[in-house]
């Protein structure tokens, strides 16, 4: 029988070899779908451990990237067992890098961590025009909008994006978080967002607070 704590710990330790060994053993025993879902949850708990270690400055961005990859590998192994049933989502996020900026590493880290925390994430991609955000909000009616950018010029684009969301009458229904290298408290006020972060793990916590 698989030890779920061991799974969580292997993810938390970013011990790829151990995790793969455990998971391969697990699937060779023809487990049930219910068991597999428990293992997925254990992996997700491991991601929370990674987030905590990141906040304690024991892990850094490179480790977060690795953890995202590790989770994806684990899910790929377990997916065939889970079939089409999916667990309930805690909320939804429309995410994208604002226009003028083509960076996506931070956005992708935030995406994998918020998915691990149970969010449905609609990732628009990089260098996204204001209209792409507005259209997607109309389409999926998300709880949260995540605007990402690395360059200083992204602040102006974030402001334009939020202004347009307001203009379309969609601002009242959503929370907006901005993330990336140039964001600060002042920048957050300037662009008209609800929260800011330069730390993906913290960003996920903020989002969790909003959908409680």
């Amino acid at each position: 029988m698989i030890d779920l704590k061991e799974v969580t710990q292997a993810v938390g330790d970013l011990d790829e070899n151990k995790l793969m060994e455990i998971l391969n053993d697990f699937i060779s025993g023809n487990p049930t779908e219910e068991e597999a879902i428990k293992v997925v949850n254990a992996c997700q708990n491991g991601m929370a451990v990674v987030g905590e270690l990141f906040e304690k400055e024991e892990y850094f961005i490179g480790d977060l990237i690795f953890s995202g990859e590790l989770l994806m590998e684990a899910i790929n192994i377990l997916k065939p067992l889970i079939g089409s049933s999916s667990s309930d989502k805690v909320g939804s996020i429309v995410l994208g890098t604002v226009h003028g900026d083509i960076h996506d590493i931070g956005k992708n880290i935030f995406k994998s961590m918020s998915e691990a925390a149970g969010f449905e994430v609609y990732d628009l991609g990089i260098d996204q025009p204001v209209s792409a955000f507005v259209e997607k909000i109309k389409e999926v009616n998300p709880n949260i909008i995540g605007l990402s950018g690395v360059l200083t010029l992204a602040l102006e684009s974030m402001k334009e994006t939020i202004d347009e969301i307001k203009g379309a009458g969609l601002r009242e229904n959503v929370k907006i978080i901005i993330g990336g290298n140039p964001v600060t408290k002042d920048a957050c006020i300037y662009v008209g967002a609800d929260a800011f972060t330069t730390n993906a793990a913290e960003g996920v916590k903020i989002c969790q607070g909003w959908v409680k």
Binding site: Y59, G62, D63, H103, T152, N181, T184, A187
Partner: protein, 456 residues
């Protein structure tokens, strides 16, 4: 108002004092705006200017009229579209706002490590460059040769156009004349070179855990290439080799210590042993690495983005030359008074004891990134308030190149069938005058410099 040549003498003297461990008359104000905000200044069209850098002269001149800086605020661009587009670059592309950026790219695969380690320069030319630059396609050798030649000519043309503007502005406004251009350089730490355009940010983060031994060996293999790339043609105490430092703050200290630091440290020491200084842009927040930075050769110029100025000054201020740290985003989001308060804080903390020049934590990338009037107010404030009462006194530790010894056998030698030395050439062409050496080897070096620049 002093005349231009008196002003230039004063500026040269405060920079020379700064670089030669003396307290200058006042804190030098060093603002270098990128090409894009200058091109946009006063409503210019960015795209046109990028294709014809001569067009920015008027805008650059107007910036000089209203913005105080001791160094010339216009420095041209590293990244013109002409040569990147000619080569069909994957790593430098234009975003929707006309700004050239570097997307995450992977031009070296895990299976290339062994070849990179065995023959690094051959691997870069045969495998990495063609993936990064689609116009360097060996299936079409003639087009490939034409594209490479055309892009190099574009590179030279655009840099010459911008260079002519810089020379004019320096003369017209009496800016710090700077060291001889040939005594500067631009390169990267071996690990960063491997990370940025070879493996990419994500893949290198995987490699650090999956194949750390290969990463370490690859850094050693790349050492002679990045060292040679940065090597200036002449040595000048006022000049520096510039290295933006990219990956350390994203790494755990134990990985940094094992994989990033050793080859970098040896490289900076080796330059120092030749009397060459380095200017390092410590991207992001280096607080946890300040003790490492202390170990670098005296008078290393450190530009910081984030971190506590007080702690940085305390730990490094007597040994190294500090700049940066002024938050560029404040210039956009805060009032003029708040910006000036920040300037006071910077001066109070960083100026005492010398070895400091004023600079922003990073460059504004477009004209909308700052309120120009705030920037002007801040630089004038530093000019008027960054005055030393003890000018001429010794500032901290003095640099002595004899303090640095690097065992030449510690590093691999640069050799490749794609780089012909003069001896190789003479063997192939015995009937050659040695008068041809400076010309042919000069061009050999120029091609080397350009090819590696394409991967920086």
């Amino acid at each position: 108002m002093p005349d231009t040549s008196t002003l230039q003498q004063e500026r040269n003297s405060i920079y020379h004092d700064l670089f030669n461990n003396k307290i200058p008359k006042r804190v030098p104000v060093n603002i270098g705006l990128p090409f894009e905000p200058i091109a946009q200044y006063g409503g210019g069209d960015l795209l046109s200017a990028q294709w014809n850098p001569a067009l920015v002269e008027e805008a650059a001149d107007r910036v000089c009229q209203i913005l105080f800086s001791d160094s010339c605020p216009f420095g041209g661009s590293l990244r013109y579209p002409s040569f990147y587009q000619t080569l069909e670059s994957q790593s430098f592309v234009m975003s929707s706002n006309g700004f050239i950026q570097h997307p995450e790219v992977v031009a070296m695969l895990p299976e290339d490590y062994d070849y990179l380690i065995e023959k690094p320069y051959d691997c870069l030319l045969e495998r990495v460059l063609p993936r990064q630059y689609k116009a360097l396609n060996s299936d079409e050798p003639f087009n490939m040769a034409i594209n490479l030649a055309k892009s190099l000519l574009c590179y030279q043309n655009d840099n010459m156009q911008a260079g002519q503007i810089i020379v004019k502005l320096k003369e017209k406004y009496g800016y710090y004349s700077g060291a001889d251009r040939r005594s500067g350089g631009f390169t990267e730490a071996p690990f960063d070179f491997l990370a940025d355009q070879l493996r990419g940010f994500k893949e290198i983060s995987m490699d650090v855990r999956r194949r750390p031994e290969k990463v370490a060996e690859a850094c050693e293999a790349l050492y002679p290439i990045v060292f040679k790339k940065g090597m200036p043609a002449s040595v000048d105490n006022n000049a520096a080799v510039f290295l933006p430092l990219h990956m350390p703050t994203f790494m755990r200290e134990k990985d940094f210590e094992k994989l990033w630091w050793p080859s970098f440290k040896r490289m900076i020491d080796e330059y120092a042993s030749m009397g060459i200084h380095c200017q390092l842009f410590c991207e992001d927040n280096w607080t946890r690495y300040l003790d490492y930075l202390y170990e670098l050769p005296t008078d290393t110029r450190l530009m910081f983005e984030y971190g506590d100025p007080k702690l940085i000054k305390e730990k490094l201020g007597k040994k190294h030359i500090i700049t940066g740290l002024y938050p560029v985003t404040m210039l956009k989001t805060n009032t003029k008074e708040q910006c000036l308060d920040k300037a006071t804080e910077m001066l109070d903390v960083l100026a005492p004891g010398g070895k400091y020049y004023f600079g922003l934590d990073k460059n504004p990338l477009t004209i909308n990134d700052i309120k120009f009037e705030n920037l002007c107010a801040v630089t004038e404030y530093i000019r008027d308030n960054g005055i030393y009462s003890n000018a001429g006194e010794t500032a901290g530790l003095a640099f002595n190149k004899d303090d640095y010894k690097v065992d030449p056998s510690a590093s691999r030698k640069f050799e490749s069938k794609y780089y012909r030395t003069w001896e190789d050439y003479k063997t192939l062409n015995p009937k050659v005058s040695d008068l041809g050496e400076s010309k042919l080897q000069g061009f050999e070096e120029l091609i080397f410099q350009y090819l590696i620049f394409l991967l920086l």
